[in-house]
Structures are given as C-alpha cells and as structure tokens.
Amino acid sequence: MNYLILGAGPAGVVAAETLRNTDPDGAITLVGAENEPPYSRMAIPYLLTGRIDERGTHLRKEPGWYKDRRIDVTSRRATAVHPGSKTVAFADGTSVPYDRLLIATGARPLRPAIPGLDLPGVHTCWTLDDARYIMDKARPGARVVLMGAGFIGSIVLEALAERGVTLTVVEMGDRMVPRMMNPTAGGMIKNWCRSKGVEVLTSTRILGIEGNGGQAKGGFLASLFRSKPANGGGALTVTLDNGHKLEADLVVISAGVRPNIEFLADSGIVMDVGIQVDEHMRTSAPDVYAAGDVAQGKDVSTGHNNIHAIQPTATEHGRVSALNMAGRPAAYKGSLQMNVLDTLGLISSSFGLWMGVEGGEAAEVIDTDNYKYLRLEFADDRMVGATAIGLTQHVGVLRGLIQTGVQLGPWKQRLMADPHRIMEAYLARTQA
C-alpha cells in the first residue's frame, strides 16, 4: 500500500506514525510545504520567549526517527489533487501517485482587508519563518501592536510580553478570546493583562496602518525592508476606529485562520469552510482522507461538522484517519472544542458548549478579586461545557465528563452547589 500524506504538521506526523504501527509494510510519504523538518506551530510562542530553540519546535527530535520508521519526509507544495487518476501534482512539476491520500495541509492566518497590511513591519505569527522575523523585530522596548486577541492572539500576546516589548492589543470583539470565553471570563482576562502592564483595547478596530514614508505597497521593495533590524525598519502608525493613533515598530496580525484548501478547487472533493469528512475521516473522494485544521470533522458537542483548529483535534484526526486508511475501521465520535490559555500567568480553559444550551442549566462561581472562575453547563444531567480560570489541577476531567456525556445522577445537584467537585463527580460516576 502506498500512503501519501500532504502536510507535515501534527496531524500528518501522527497519521504517518499510526500508519506505520498499523501497517508495517506500506510505503509512507510525508510532504510539507515549508522547508523545515516537521514542526509544531504551537511551539512557536515558546521559541519567541526563548524557552526552546528551533529544534525544540520539531515534532520529533530523535535523529533518524522518520528514517527508522521508513517514513519518507519531503518538502514541496501540492498544487492539485486528482482523485480520478489517484495522483497529486506539486509545484515543482512532479506528479505523485497514491493508493490512499491524507490531506493534512492545515490552515493559514487570515489577512483582513485593511490598508497597510502589506507594509514591512506588519506580520503574522504562524510559521517558523514568521517567528524568525518577529524575534528580530520584537526586541525589548520595541513598540508592538497585536491585532486580535483571539485564542492564538492571546498566546502570542504572552510570548511578546515576555520578550519585553511595549505591547498594545487591539481586539474588535467586546472582550478577549470572544470565541472561547464568555463576557465574565473574557473580562477577567482583560483586567489581568492590564494589571500586568499590557494595554488591551476591546471593541476597537484597526482602520489602517501607515509607514512613515506614507502608504507603502507590499512586494519587492517591502521584502527588502523586512530583513532590516527593528530600528531601521521605520515606525508605523496604526489608526484605530476610536480616532486614536498608535506608533509601532511592529504589528502582529492574529485575526483568525482559514483552511488551506485552494489547491483542491478542481479536485471535486466536497468542501465547505474546510474539507468535509465523515466519521471515518473520509472525504467525498474515494481513498482520500483529511485531518487536522484543514478538515471539517464531527464535533461531539453539536453533532455537526466543524473546524476546531486545535492541536488535540489535529492529532486525534491524524490517528483515526490513519487507522481507517490502514484498513482498521474506526469511527470517530467527534472532537471536542477545547482550549487552554496562559495569559501572563493567568490560566484559563474552556470546553465544549461553554456558552451553554437552550433549556440547560449552569453552575457558576466567581471570585473577581482573585481571578478565579468556574462555570459548568449542563443539559439534563450531563455536562456539556465548561469555562475555568485559575484551575490547573485535574482540568482534563472536564473534557472526560463532557465528551463521554456521563450521566451525573445525584452529582448534578452537587456540582450545581459546588462546581469544583468535578473530580469527585467523575470518580463517583465512573470509577468508585
């Protein structure tokens, strides 16, 4: 069997390893579009803070890891998939056949239509290359504007702050991490960040960015500028919809992501926002599977297909798709939307339907002064979602309780009275 995997992120790597474990004889090719060993985007913030070096971001570190497992790793960009002929075309002009194909090409950052986004000094934070650029620019004391305080934006926020820059965060939503945190929790995180010296502007839009040489266009000249150090790059002026202007040496954009599916436009594969997959991670094309940020797979909370764009979903997708590709049918019950965030030492997490469901009930405890918060959402006697701030012990059990939909019985009332007894509820209902 000849397996081809497009994408050398976590989904692709886990899939390749699972394939090898399940099918000792198949040929496995893992293709990435960046000229790097398979690495983890999630590790980039820790590269920025200096906690790890570039090697620390690599998904597998032992020398010969892929070779030993007979996983052929290459770098080239796929430009088209032809399910009819079972081939993939690459930018270098080659065409590679497959028996089973996995598309795990991930996502890329959105670039909103705002004037000045192409200016030198304006950058996303998504790839290792991006990280190198930001490390160069975000020197201590540099003025940095971060556009977007979503989940990834907030992680980048932490990393930038740790680098000692003067940071201003601009978020158009009415709170931080609006798609992960309710107003109470989002508000708490904002207050915390402000108390730590990071300026956070919510309900604020960036209207445009200007270089000090006027409205510059991207392209050849801009790319020349990019290699220059922070002080030589020229200051930028960021205009906000509240009329204020911010001076900046660097603007980092974190305004959402979009799946890398353009190259599939002519493949006939059914797509929505991302690639539609069934519970076996199959696309509409025979022998073509999809996994990770690019795949719109089943969400265990809603039963609908969603893109979660998170690491655990990517690796689980990778594993389930590989099992199916290798002929071991495995049905995926769906992934759970969940996130954990550390903003300047304040740890927050949310799970599943944290916003609750109609007709459901919620238990909530708030301690504003001490930045502690826990809210559990129930539908009947099952937990369906949760939001936590300041909780670091046994957090995972929230996932367990929600994902398995265990009936809480008498523990529902106990949790309503004291939501912090989650671990006991879990033990009592499943183990004891």
């Binding site: 405890v365 301690d367 502690k372 300041g390 004291d418 912090h420």
Partner: protein, 615 residues
C-alpha cells in the same frame, strides 16, 4: 530543617497580618507545638488576664514533624489561656489542617486582640488575609466549612472553625477542623469566639523539608514497622478505635458512671467498640462504616459512623444521614456512661452534634451528668430545664439538651457553663467532677490510682492526655504497675507527664506511645531537626515545658490547693468491681510528686529547679 521557621502574627484589633522568624533559640528549648507555643504565650500574655479579653492570645501551632512522612505527622495544637479553666490550655488535634498549615510555611499563627466584627483568616502559602465572616458567623462548623470552600473555589482548603457554641460563649467550645477532628478541651474555641474569629482556612503547597531525608526515611520506616506489629496500634486501634477500651475499663472498675456515683456501667457493652461493629436490628447495618486516618497516620483509629435513619434522633432529619465522625472512647463514655445512657445511636448523634457546633463532649457529657444528678435530687427542676425530664439514662433528654447547648438555647445555656459553674450556681459545687474547672475524662481514679495524681496535677485541669498512666496501670505499657497501689505513681506520673509534653511538641500523636518509646521519637526528630535530639534531651524538654506551664498557672493564681480531686473521689468508695471499697489516695502521692518535681511543698518550682531548666 523541619521547622518552617516562620510565625504569622495576626492582630485582629488592627486587622494586620505579619510574618516574623520563628525564635530558633526557643525551638531548641521547647521543640515546637505545645512547648514552643506555651513559651510564646508565657512570654507574651499576662497570666492574670481574663481569658476572654482581647489581652489573651490564641496560638495555632504545628510541630517540627507535622507535615512530614513520620506516621501521625499531622498534629497541630491550639494554645491559649483556657476559657473553661483560666489555666494554660493546649488542645491537640489531627485531621489534615495542621499539615496544611505547615505546608503553607507556618509553624505558628498567633492571634492577638479582638476583631471589631466577625472575621476569618484566609492563608494561602505566604499570603494571609483577614476577611469578613459576615454570613458565616452564626453557622455551624459544617456549614461554615462548606461556605468558605465554596467562596474560595478550593475544595482542598483545610479549615479550623468554631461552631455556634464558640460564638455563644459555651465555656467548653472547641476548634473543629476537617469536620470532625477537634482541638477539644479547656474552651479554646470559646477564646477564639471571644476574638470574633470564626475560622482559619489554609491552603499550603510549599512542602515540608527535613534535615537529612535519607536518615529520616529510615527512622520513619522503622518506626512505622513498630506501629504495624504492635497489637494495640497495629490491630486494636484500627479495628475498634479508642473504643477498644470501653469494655476493658469497665471490667477494671474504673468507668465513671452517672457523675461518678458508680465505677461500672451496666450498659457499657452496648456502647462499646464491639457494639459499633454489630449489625443493627433495624437496618441490618453496623453503626461503624469505616476507620479513618488523620494526615500521615498509619494507625487509623478514627471512627466514621452512619446513623440508623429510623432512630428517633434523626428519623426526619436527612442532613444527619451521611457518614461522619463516630464515637471514640471519650465521647461514648462522657455522653453515655456519665449520663447513664446506653443508646449507641443517640450517643453517635450527640457526637455528631458536638462536631457540628464545636463542643467538647467530655465536659459536655460530664456537665449533663452533674445536671442529671441535681435533677434527680430536686435541685434542678423541669422549670429550669423547660420541661425536659433530665434523668439518668434518658436518651431523648440527652439529645435535646446537647442540641440546645450547641446553639446556646434554653437550658443549654446553663449546661454551657460547664459543671463547675453550673454546680456552684445551684449550690452544689461538690457535684462538679472537675479539677481546676475542667471535667474528668473516662478513667475513674479510684480504680486507677495514678490517674488521680495525673488529674490533680494536670496543668490544663483534669485530663488523661497529660500523663496516661492507664497505659502502665491497666495495659502494662511500658511496664505493668498495680492500679490500686499508690507507691511509685508519683515517679510514673512525672515520667509520663514529661514524655507526653515532648511528644505533644513534636507534631506526632500521643497514641503512638502505645508502641513507641522516646527513643523512637528521638531518632525521627534527630534526622529531621538540627540540634542533636536524644531521648534524654526530649525528657528534659518535656520537664521544661511542664514547669513553664506550672509557672504560668501559679502566676495566674493557682496554688497547691487546686491540685486536688472532688470530695466524692477522695471519700466515697467504689461500690463494685475490682476497686470496690477504694477511694483515691491522692494524699499518699502528691507530696512525693512535688518532691520529685523539685517543687516546694506548696507546689511551687524551686529556684534551683527553674535554674536547672533554664526558666
């Protein structure tokens, strides 16, 4: 070193919390916990103060081995001038609170003054905050714990708290931690209440270190093996708890019954440890659910019981149907034999109530016993009791009165005075079975002579935990002595008093002494603490502590005249059992005791003694 090295000083009047270094010189002289906190108290508090005035202080204190892997290393004590006695008080408790406090990095918390309005202290490692107890004040121990945990969103908070008894000024209120462990005696909870301090909630995640981990692990492992192979600590206590004693002491003829009128109780077996294992006729379940350990304890003598849901006391009160702290020997005896009640479920229920509202069951049961005697002789009538027929053996009356006392209601307010004040009030001081204002525990000194001297000389009023000569006189540990003989008891009592004072200062539990000698403590302490700890040094530290406490009491106004027993024990002979015909012969022991102690015939430590001990 295994001292945390830090004292938290909380001034409730000013609302301040300050950290200060532990006085390490004193630590070398007084070890920790009981000894060290008594030293602080003696240095800082005028022995003459009214215990309930802001000038009194209250100290919560751990020992150097609290929070370590030494078996039973979870003890903490509350030291203050006792509300019940006016003497120096030190009440010791297990559970998990002490270890948590040590893990938060505190050897001691000293409370000074009085808060203008009810407060509680919240401690999270180095952080300490005085917070309003509005809404919590007025609640039971159990409800308060729940509310505080809920507010701080921390199910792992450990809390020491007073119940309504402590708020209402019940003279024998205790400080309860972990729902059903208590620093019980002498009214330490009353002092806490007088300071408008409802609770102390602690979370500690800093850990506890010892001097030499390797040596310490070896010493503690060896000591644990001794506990496991000893019949008392390895089998008796885990199976029956302290309740293993009920039948034994009854047979010895030393089970004080009906306010010490008798020395044997016909209902003893019905309220014994064995009875707690028996399946009830009503629901086919035994009273006892499980044994529970305190922090780090490899004995696990604690009882956890569940009530018979059909029992009159709780038949329509499901809030009492869950498992909770069951009967130990002392509360089974005090609430039972002392009052002539042999209804195991009623006693268990009363035990729950004691925990729920924070009352010392020994003083409570004995006081009710005294009230029953006065009721039977007509001194107290239904007019005073509000229609309750307070006769010996009346289980319903017992339950009612216990509940009323816990809440400070009706006749309960009278019981809340303790037996000394109650009996004086009704003109029968001789009916109070107490020394220095504190009631006897469950050993009748007519049947166990050494206990008479123990009680008479105890620095916190009548108490078995100051020198448990029962161990020698009844159980034969470390050597068997004759319980009816007075000879040699002065020496025995002194040795027990000194050794116990050292044990109470270590952070470990005195129950280990059924199996451990001072040498075992010394080897663990020496591995944990700087200072070269030997058995001899521990005995010396114990003696120093004893004399320090004595000095405090003498300065507080106690004299040799207070080293005595109620007339009943000295003049009314035991009516039945092996001790039949005996009274306690305190007079034969006391002078010798003073001499061995190096005290004057008036019970004052001589200058030489004080100098020898560095006092």
């Amino acid at each position: 070193m295994s001292w945390a090295g830090k004292v938290l000083r909380v001034n409730l009047t000013n609302g301040t919390c300050k950290s200060e270094p532990l006085n390490m010189e004193w630590a070398q002289q007084y070890l920790g916990q009981r000894g060290l906190a008594s030293k602080y108290l003696a240095e800082e508090v005028d022995p003459k103060v009214d215990p309930l005035s802001p000038a009194n202080k209250l100290i919560m204190t751990t020992g150097p081995l609290t929070g370590t892997m030494a078996s039973t290393g979870g003890r903490y004590s509350v030291v203050t001038k006792g509300a019940l006695t006016g003497a120096i008080a030190c009440s010791n408790s297990g559970g998990y609170f002490g270890a948590e406090m040590k893990n938060a990095g505190w050897d001691m918390i000293i409370f000074e003054g009085r808060a203008p309005s009810p407060v509680y202290l919240y401690v999270e490692n180095d952080k300490a905050e005085i917070r309003s107890a509005e809404g919590i004040w007025g609640q039971s121990v159990w409800k308060s714990e729940e509310m505080i945990r809920h507010f701080h969103q921390d199910p792992q908070l450990r809390i020491a708290v007073i119940g309504r008894a402590g708020e209402e000024g019940v003279k024998f209120a205790c400080v309860v931690n972990d729902s059903h462990r208590a620093a019980g005696r002498s009214g330490v909870g009353t002092v806490m209440g007088s300071k408008n301090l409802k609770a102390v909630a602690v979370r500690g995640t800093k850990g506890v270190k010892v001097k030499d981990f390797k040596a310490f692990m070896e010493a503690t492992n060896a000591a644990k093996a001794i506990l496991a192979s000893n019949p008392v600590t390895g089998q008796g206590l885990p199976t029956y708890g302290t309740q293993v004693l009920m039948n034994v002491i009854n047979e010895t003829g030393a089970l004080p019954t009906r306010n010490h009128r008798d020395v044997q109780f016909e209902g003893a077996s019905k309220i014994s440890g064995e009875a707690m294992h028996e399946k009830r006729l009503t629901d086919g379940k035994p009273n006892l659910v499980k044994n529970q350990a305190c922090f780090g304890c490899t004995i696990a003598c604690g009882r956890v019981s569940m009530l018979d849901k059909t029992h009159f006391s709780v038949s329509n009160r499901p809030e009492y149907w869950g498992a909770s702290g069951g009967l130990e020997y002392e509360n089974a005896w005090a609430l039972g034999a002392s009052t002539g009640v042999s209804d195991l479920e009623a006693l268990t229920f009363c035990g729950f109530l004691c925990n729920e509202q924070g009352m010392d069951p020994i003083t409570l049961g004995t006081t009710i016993g005294a009230a029953m005697e006065m009721f039977e002789q007509g001194t107290i009538t239904e007019k005073e009791t509000g229609g309750i027929k307070l006769t010996f053996g009346n289980a319903e009356a017992l339950c009612q009165v216990v509940e009323m006392t816990g809440k400070g209601e009706g006749f309960g307010r009278e019981i809340g005075l303790g037996s000394k004040r109650l009996c004086e009030k009704y003109g029968h001081p001789e009916l109070s079975m107490s020394v220095k204002g504190q009631e006897f525990p469950a050993y009748d000194s007519r049947g166990i002579q050494g206990m008479g001297l123990t009680y008479a000389t105890s620095n916190r009023g009548a108490c078995h935990l100051r020198s448990y000569t029962v161990s020698s006189e009844v159980l034969g540990v470390p050597v068997k002595t004759d319980p009816h003989v007075t000879e040699g008891k002065a020496e025995l009592v002194k040795a027990f008093q000194d050794a116990t004072a050292a044990v109470d200062s270590s952070g470990l539990c005195v129950f280990t002494t059924f199996a451990w000698g001072l040498q075992d403590f010394a080897s663990m302490l020496d591995a944990a603490c700087e200072g070269g700890w030997t058995m001899e040094r521990l005995a010396e530290v114990g003696e120093r502590i004893w004399n320090l406490e004595r000095k405090f009491n003498n300065a507080a106004g106690f004299t040799a005249a207070d080293d005595t027993l109620p007339k009943r024990l000295l003049t009314e002979a035991a009516k039945t059992g092996p001790a039949k015909g005996l009274v306690n012969k305190l007079g034969e022991m006391l002078p010798e005791y003073y001499k061995i102690r190096g005290w004057t015939p008036d019970g004052m430590p001589t200058n030489e003694t004080l100098a020898r001990l560095g006092l």
